[in-house]
């Protein structure tokens, strides 16, 4: 009896073992990724590949590309060497890709490369920065003039906030120092001090957009206060020629005797650098920052009242627009010259919404 039982047990175990071995073969020794084949192959070329801004643009592009059965590579990411945009353009053209998305500027060398690519039948979409003279098929940007107007409105808001605050302080002082009329008059004269607004622009980019943006700010302020507004708008060049020069340039600004009252940053990196500098030099409250992009650091800074406001560009939409432009070009042979991504303003009042959203995103990412 027991031998029968034992035999049955052994036979069952052997069969189980056999099933395991068969499963072992069936399952394959190494998990192989599904090899999906795509119709089109696009590349994205940017100067900077680390920032959350570009990550988000790339993700948006990827998402849309997959919908269209195309694939986007962030060229340069896979190389150990760091290649310039021009070199990457050359590589992309030689690789006979189906489309190039490049963060351009008005550089002539780049114009030539874009023209070469176009001549080889590769459509080029300029992203964020344009190269108007080239044969690019489309430009996807943020609408610099509108952005400038938005910044201008925020500048006005900051000034009005400050004046109200100053008035309150003045009233308090007045109440304490009642009867000293002369002194009060002198104080009012002091409040007419000009407000210094600095726009941080890239030093070597001959970028039309920056100019358009600045004129947007200028116009908004002038509309409100007229030509004699008492607001000094200046452009501060930030050296972006090498990897760490941006941060150094920004520190230099704070080392000077007179720091601006309001600093407007036009990209994510400068925003982060200025924010850190303000904290480091203990200028919180004195210097108002208008930031760019909605990275977690920036959102948190708004929450802590260090950054006054920031503009959030729908980066995913930007990425998607690039793909749309390329797809359209392939289908029809032409496409819209301009695509403008949506811009939202994030301030203290609505920052909680983004905080929650950011956390939510993190969770889904995990």
């Amino acid at each position: 009896m027991w031998t029968t039982l034992l035999t049955a047990l052994c036979v069952i175990l052997t069969v189980a073992m056999a099933v395991y071995v068969i499963w072992f073969y069936q399952s394959g020794l190494v998990e192989e990724t599904e090899r999906e084949v795509y119709d089109k192959y696009y590349v994205l070329i940017t100067e900077d590949s680390k920032s959350a801004f570009w990550q988000s643009v790339y993700e948006g592009a990827c998402e849309r590309a997959l919908e269209e059965n195309a694939y986007v590579d962030w060229l340069g990411e896979q190389f150990f060497e760091k290649y310039s945009v021009e070199e990457l353009m050359r590589i992309a053209t030689a690789s006979a890709v189906d489309g190039i998305i490049v963060t351009a500027n008005e550089n002539e060398g780049l114009t030539e490369l874009i023209d070469q690519a176009a001549a080889a039948g590769i459509p080029v979409v300029t992203l964020y920065g344009d190269n108007t003279k080239s044969a690019r098929c489309s430009f996807v940007g943020v609408g610099s003039y509108n952005l400038g107007r938005e910044y201008g409105r925020q500048v006005l808001a900051i000034i009005s906030d400050r004046r109200q605050e100053a008035a309150k302080v003045q009233e308090a002082q007045d109440a304490v120092l009642e009867g000293r009329a002369a002194a009060g008059a002198a104080g009012r004269d002091g409040s007419a001090q000009p407000v210094r607004v600095a726009v941080l622009v890239n030093a070597y980019a001959q970028d039309m957009d920056q100019n358009i943006l600045c004129s947007g700010i200028q116009e908004t302020i002038e509309q409100e206060f007229g030509a004699e507004s008492g607001i000094e708008l200046s452009l501060l060049s930030v050296d972006d020629t090498n990897a760490f020069s941006v941060e150094e340039s920004i520190r230099d600004i704070f080392m000077e005797q007179e720091t601006p009252d309001i600093i407007i940053c036009l990209n994510e990196l400068t925003t982060t650098c200025v924010y850190q500098a303000v904290v480091d030099y203990n200028k919180v409250g004195e210097v108002s920052i208008l930031g760019y992009y909605d990275s977690d650091t920036i959102i948190n800074a708004i929450d802590r009242n260090v950054i006054y406001a920031t503009v959030a560009i729908d980066t995913r939409q930007m990425g998607a627009f690039c793909i749309d432009a390329l797809q359209e070009y392939h289908e029809l042979g032409y496409t819209s010259q301009y695509f403008t991504a949506d811009v939202r303003l994030i301030r203290k009042e609505n920052v909680t919404e983004y905080l929650q959203k950011g956390e939510g995103d993190d969770e889904t990412a995990q």
């Binding site: 052997t14 073992m17 395991y20 073969y25």
Partner: protein, 503 residues
Amino acid sequence: MKLRSKLSSLSLQVKISSIYILTNLLVMGVNIVLMLGINNISNRLDMVYQDNLHLNELSDSLTAVQDNMTDYLSSKTSDSLEDYYRSEQDYRRMLEDLNEEITGLSFDRMERNIRYMSEDYLEEVNYTIEAKRGRNVEKYRVHYEEAAQMYEYINTYIANLNTEKFRTNSEQYNLLLQKFRLFEGAAMLSMVLVMASNVCIIISLVGASLRPLKKLAGSADEVAKGNFGVELLPVESKDEIGVVTGAFNSMVVSIGKYIERLRESMEAERALKERELMMEAHLKDARLKYLQAQINPHFLFNTLNAGAQLAMMEGADRTYEYVQKVAQFYRYNMKKSEETVTIADEIEMVDYYVYILNVRFGGDIHYEKKIDPALLTVEMPGMILQPIVENCINHGIREMGSEGRICLSVYRVEHAVCISVKDNGVGMSRETIDQVMRGAYREEGKAAGSNGIGMDNVISRMKLFTKNEEVMAIFSEGEGMGTEVFLYLEDGTEEKQEQTDDV
């Protein structure tokens, strides 16, 4: 059931061989599977870094193209040109193997880019060579710069791809190695399990095959100890064990039957001997009683014979006849009492006896005979009828006083011979008959003239002779109604007749 019956019809050798073959096949099968698995994994391990080797070759080939071009540009020898064309051909052939599709895998895309860039590069190199051959110095320098740049990019690309692949391949290698270790463990476990299974299978199957043999051995042992009453073993299979079991069963049955027969024959022999001994004993008893009763019969015969002769000489015929018959009677008594006689002899004896009595007592016994002459030769023990007639006369007729009658009949009843002795005497009560038949009746003192043989002796001898219990019957209707004694014998004449017929 079919399978079972089929299995049971196999011979023991086939069964045991099959078990060993089966288990060996099992081990072999498992070994083959495991070996295939190990082979598979080791093949895979060999293949892991194949990609890197290919990429290295590709890189070398690319460098060869570039070197040969540079060589040609600097020396312009036909050898270097030939080398260049050969290396270009090699490189193009290698490019054929590179992936061309756009897939979700970054390696594939990189391969695709390398392929297209290489084509671009080769074109540029071609332009350079053509320009050099055409002595277009300006042009070939520009093309050379382009080609060199491209060469740089491609090389970087290949190096990157190579490094990336090396990284993933190393991961894969580790993964494979882990799986290999896992497989090793599984293989060991499988072998142990198969071993255990085999041991169990062998034990159970061999045990099942040999179980009848064990039972047979147990039964044989019992039989050897002398217990022939063992239960018969069921024949479960048709193999050698089944055959032996069947034979053993029939042997046990045969031995049982033989012993039974032997015992029966011994019993019969013993009974026969016993009967003979008893017969002899009774005869001796009868003779002893006779000798007690008679004083020297030879002297008596001689005396009687002398008396008979005297009477004849004197002319007394009746006396002569009487003395003669008395002498005959005693001679018969003397001679025949120890052997088997015929009914005729016995009747003659009764005749003498009745004659003597009639002379003695003045002829008051009427003696009648109804004999079937065919039955006269039937054999019977001697000294049977005379004692019965004597009893009839002594107890029946003499006490009556009036004229007595004796009727002796011999006739056939079915297959038996019946001898009837009937008198018209006082009769017998039922109790007396029972006592006589049981042999429990004792006479008070011997009547004068009796030869001393009692009824119990008669009955015993009849029983021994006929080997039958129903040898005698006494019938009496009551007091004064007479008595009839029946003797039953086997009809010897019939048997003789049959025997002669058979012959």
